[in-house]
Amino acid sequence: MTHMSADAHPSSGPRPGDAPSDIEPVVEMTGITITFPGVTALDDVSFRMFPGEVHALMGENGAGKSTLIKALTGVYTIDAGTIRVGGTEQQFAGTATAQAAGVSTVYQEVNLCTNLSVAENMMLGREPRRLGRIDHRRMNRRTREVLARLGLDIAPRSRLGDHPIAVQQLVAIGRAVDIEARVLVLDEPTASLDSEEVDKLFEVVRSLRSQGVAILFVSHFLDQVFAISDRMTVLRNGRLVGEHLTRDVTRLELVEEMLGRELEVLERLDREPSRQPDERRTPVLRAVGLGRKGALAPVDLDVYDGEVIGIAGLLGSGRTELARLLFGADASDSGTVELRGRRVHLRSPRKAVDQRIGFSSENRRSEGVIGDLTVAENMLLGLQAARGWLRPVPPRTRDQLVTKYVEALDIRPANPDALMRNLSGGNQQKVLLARWLIMQPDLLILDEPTRGIDVGAKAQIQQVVDDLARDGMGVVFISAELEEVLRLSDRLVVMRDRHKVDEIPNVQTTTADLMAIIARDEEVARA
């Protein structure tokens, strides 16, 4: 697993675009490195923004987008590198200093007080005062002016909570603008907006751009990125992959950069003789029309014994939603599931576990790891839950199982009594994998099991998946890394925009083929 090496890594900073050389960048980050225990979130990344441009920051989950934003907004301190805003070098010691330097942020979840008025929110903490008391008249007038500047007509006295999310977001932007922001960071601003609201937001963004504000736009909707941005920076695995003018890039090129490309010839060589999924038998799992309103359009899916189904698609394409429905982590509101030909209703994870299904969530930290329990306890949690609290796993069985999987998966430190939270991401992932392997499920659903972990652990986990399928387990494998999906899968399901758009056998399939399928429909949608 060394796909990073295949790409040129522009360590010498961003390639020059066609920005006029006499314009100084308003933001210039060079050589930014941020590490967390066990993982390098950003590795020598350079990034710049010019006044009066909309700059899209692109990358899949774990690429380092949010880490970079947090470095720029002062949430994280950087381990190496320099940040210059407006030409002066900055040492951000918290969000307040970043704001003082002119960097404002509007988060996806609007951080405002819904029970206060629009004007009160706009001026929160900076209320105009007269004789020590808040001057409401001046506050409302000022708010009206700011909103007018954005081309908005919202009553300053109205309660913020009475407005739709979109308007609240615009107020948040107004607030950011009023703090004389030179740089405005919009983190997934359109995630909960409908298309008309998006148009309104874009109007505001364009008007700010014309006033010389640099806007950092983060979104996983490619359509929107191409509609609004002037320039884009692409990150992958914590590294800078490229900086381009938006008009110079095609959608396919962008997807390729985001997902990574590898020397496919080598790729195919390391694939061992293919497994023999037994498709004559009844499938382990057959889902028909399985869906959930607002999350996933109805999907049909069969998984047979001894095969790996790879699910490919961009972030937000519905790949995780599908996995969660298959496990009963979310309730489906349409369709049926049959396990070995028997109709079942997967109301809860508990039910799914009883039906011998296992699921490893993409959110390792929040939905997998029990940090303050030991490695052994984490490993045995599933088995113990299945047995019920009255029947503890006997100490001997427990020791045997733990020793076996610590060795088999090469978990380090090889100390069953170590606290789970002290392990690196890769080792935590192996423990979580062991949690399910101990249960010996018939079907194992792995959502991004290799995200954010080091290369060695990644290869080991891939090997385990391959072995499991050879031993007859059905596996649903989800990953943002296409080459990984291709390496492991017998069949490929491609998701886009919460729909299953294609299903193909993995015979001589290349990442280019997959990318074409992922990007194809988007081009159609765009046209």
């Binding site: 496990f327 982590a329 809860s348 994870p349 508990r350 799914a352 576990v353 009883d354 699921f359 969530s361 929040s366 939905e367 997998g368 790891v369 029990i370 940090g371 303050d372 329990l373 306890e377 949690l381 599933g382 113990q384 839950a385 299945a386 047995r387 019920g388 609290w389 009255l390 029947r391 503890p392 796993v393 949690r435």
Partner: protein, 341 residues
Amino acid sequence: MRDLTRHRLFWPVLALVLLLAVNAIATPTFLQVRMQDGHLYGSLVDIARNGAPVLLVALGMTLVIATRGIDLSVGAIAAIAGAVACVHIAGSPDPASAGTAITAITLALAVCILLGLWNGFLVSVLGIQPIIATLVLMTAGRGLAMLVTGGQITTVNNAFFKALGAGYFLTLPIAILVSLAVLAITGLITRRTALGMLVEAVGINPEASRLAGVRSRTIIWTVYVFSAFCAGLAGLMIAANTSAADANNAGLWIELDAILAVVIGGTSLAGGRFSLMGTLVAALFIQTLSTTIPTIGIPSETNYLFKAVVVIAVCLLQSPKARAAVWRRSNRSSLVKAGRA
């Protein structure tokens, strides 16, 4: 030494030992335990006996808090238990017999289990925040107890019932034996079965536990029932000690002492890892503190203030942040040297 100070029981035990030392200096006879009429007597025995109800309630509270919950209704449940038992004894045809006492105790505990089921239902099935869900019974519970007793303080005269609060067995107060037995049983149930681990898992990361197939609803329900059971037993002890059910005052504010005991004992209010031994030590500490205040001559009107000050001191002592701050201040130069070495 470093390992010792890191042990989760170190600070609670240290606080208890210091407090006992203060008492021993103020009252030289404090540590004496003598035999009289075949019973053990002495301040230490009194502390253990008077602390038994708080310990019981705190044991239940420990498990509830370990699941990220809280149970404010324990005081009210204690009052209900006492009321049910005393009213039953007072109204029975044979109010002095052992049989009546046993039925009364069983009946009261059964009612408490029902109340625990109610709390657990609100929290685990309806998903109401624990502090609100149990607030319902905290307020309504005393009213229920008043209904049971008809607004009167119901007194009984049953030697067997009284023994639960004031009796002796093998030279020791029965209250101490009962609370220690519950402690031992709780320890066995949580650590010999998987209940303790599952309780902690649910408390540390509820969503991860759910996705691992843990029946968190059952677990959470169980701990509220257990908490109510413990509160009921404590209430019976309180009523038995005075042979009377006082719906208004029995177990008043005991929930706060219990929560305090859990926290001082090293179980975080954020849920997760819990320590029954820590709760034991802390419950004894709180009771010793209540005993200390009059003996060392603190005027009774500053009683609560003094208690608050001591509790804050203990909490600061336990906080690694606070300790580090004090350490830095007093020891800055030596730390620098150590850092260079």
